[in-house]
C-alpha cells in the first residue's frame, strides 16, 4: 500500500467519531447530582466531620466529570488531573481532621456554629 494513503487513512480513522455505549452526559448528570448533594451538605450541616465528608463527595463528583471528558476526548490528561485531586484530597483530609481535633480540644464540640472566636 502507498504509505501516503496509509497515513491519510489512519488520520481519517482517528478523526472519525466513535459511539460509546454510555453517553457522556449520563456521567455528567451523575456528577452534577453528586456535587449538589455535597454542596447541600456543606451548606446545611453544622457538624464539622459531616461537612468534611461532603467536601469529599464534591471532589469525587469533579473527578467523575474529568474522567468522563478524558474518555470523550481520548486523552489521558483528565486522569492525571484526577490523580492530583486525589492527592490534594488526602492532604485536605489530614489537615481538616487535625483542625477538628484541635477544635474539639478547645470547645468540647465539633459544631461549626460555635466557631465565633473571630467575630466582634
Amino acid at each position: 500500500m502507498n504509505p501516503v494513503s496509509d497515513v491519510a487513512a489512519r488520520a481519517a480513522e482517528a478523526a472519525a467519531p466513535v459511539a460509546h455505549s454510555i453517553p457522556l452526559y449520563w456521567f455528567l448528570v451523575v456528577a452534577v447530582v453528586l456535587f449538589a448533594i455535597g454542596s447541600a451538605g456543606v451548606l446545611a450541616r453544622r457538624n464539622a466531620l459531616t461537612v468534611l465528608m461532603s467536601v469529599e463527595i464534591m471532589l469525587n463528583a469533579v473527578n467523575l466529570a474529568f474522567l468522563a471528558f478524558a474518555r470523550e476526548w481520548g486523552n489521558m490528561h483528565g486522569h492525571v488531573v484526577t490523580f492530583f485531586v486525589i492527592a490534594v484530597a488526602a492532604a485536605e483530609a489530614a489537615i481538616g481532621l487535625a483542625l477538628v481535633l484541635g477544635l474539639f480540644r478547645h470547645k468540647k464540640s465539633v459544631n461549626l456554629d460555635e466557631l465565633t472566636a473571630l467575630r466582634n
Binding site: 463527595i57 473527578n63 470523550e72 486522569h79 492530583f84 486525589i86 490534594v88 474539639f104 464540640s109
Partner: protein
C-alpha cells in the same frame, strides 16, 4: 438496554443513594454511619471509573480514598467518640433552606443544559493502553512533572501541618 448501561444505572443509583445518606439523617446524625456509607459510595464510584476505562484511577480510588482517607476519618470519629451534646444542634435557619433550594435548582438547570449541550461533542477513539498505568505515567512524567513534584511538597507540608495542629503543646 445493554449490559453496560444496566451496570451504569445500578452503580449511579448506588453512588447517589449512599452519598445522599451521608448528608441526610443516618449519616448526618451520626458521623460514623456517614463515614461507612461514604466508603460504600467510593466503591460504587470506582465501578463508574471502570466503565469510563479508567482502571488505574478505579484502583487508586479504593486504595487512597476508601483505604487511607476514610480510615483516617473513621479513626478520628471513633477517637472523639462524640455525644449528642458535643455534636451540637442542627439549626434550621431560612438562609440554610434558601441555600439548599438554590443548590438543587442550579443542579437541575445544569443537568438540563449539559444534556442538550454535550450531545454534539464527537467522541474520539481511545488510544491503545488508555487508562492503564503506562499511559498515566507517560502523561504524568512528560507533561506534568513540576506539578507532580509540587504535589509531593504539598503532602509533606500537610503531614507536618497535621502533626503541628494536632499536638497538644507546641
Amino acid at each position: 438496554m445493554g449490559f453496560e448501561q444496566i451496570l451504569f444505572w445500578l452503580l449511579a443509583l448506588g453512588v447517589i443513594v449512599t452519598s445522599a445518606l451521608v448528608v441526610l439523617p443516618p449519616g448526618g446524625k451520626n458521623p460514623l454511619y456517614g463515614a461507612l456509607l461514604l466508603i460504600v459510595s467510593f466503591f460504587f464510584m470506582s465501578g463508574l471509573y471502570v466503565l469510563l476505562f479508567a482502571h488505574t484511577m478505579a484502583v487508586l480510588q479504593i486504595l487512597v480514598y476508601a483505604g487511607a482517607i476514610m480510615v483516617l476519618f473513621t479513626f478520628v470519629i471513633m477517637l472523639l467518640n462524640l455525644s449528642k451534646k458535643e455534636l451540637g444542634d442542627e439549626t434550621r435557619t431560612i438562609a440554610k433552606g434558601v441555600g439548599v433550594v438554590a443548590v438543587v435548582a442550579l443542579a437541575v438547570k445544569t443537568a438540563l443544559v449539559i444534556e442538550t449541550q454535550t450531545l454534539n461533542i464527537p467522541a474520539k477513539p481511545l488510544p491503545a493502553g488508555f487508562g492503564g498505568v503506562d499511559a498515566i505515567a507517560d502523561t504524568l512524567f512528560h507533561n506534568y512533572l513540576v506539578p507532580f513534584e509540587l504535589t509531593g511538597v504539598l503532602l509533606l507540608v500537610a503531614v507536618i501541618g497535621a502533626v503541628v495542629l494536632a499536638k497538644r503543646t507546641l
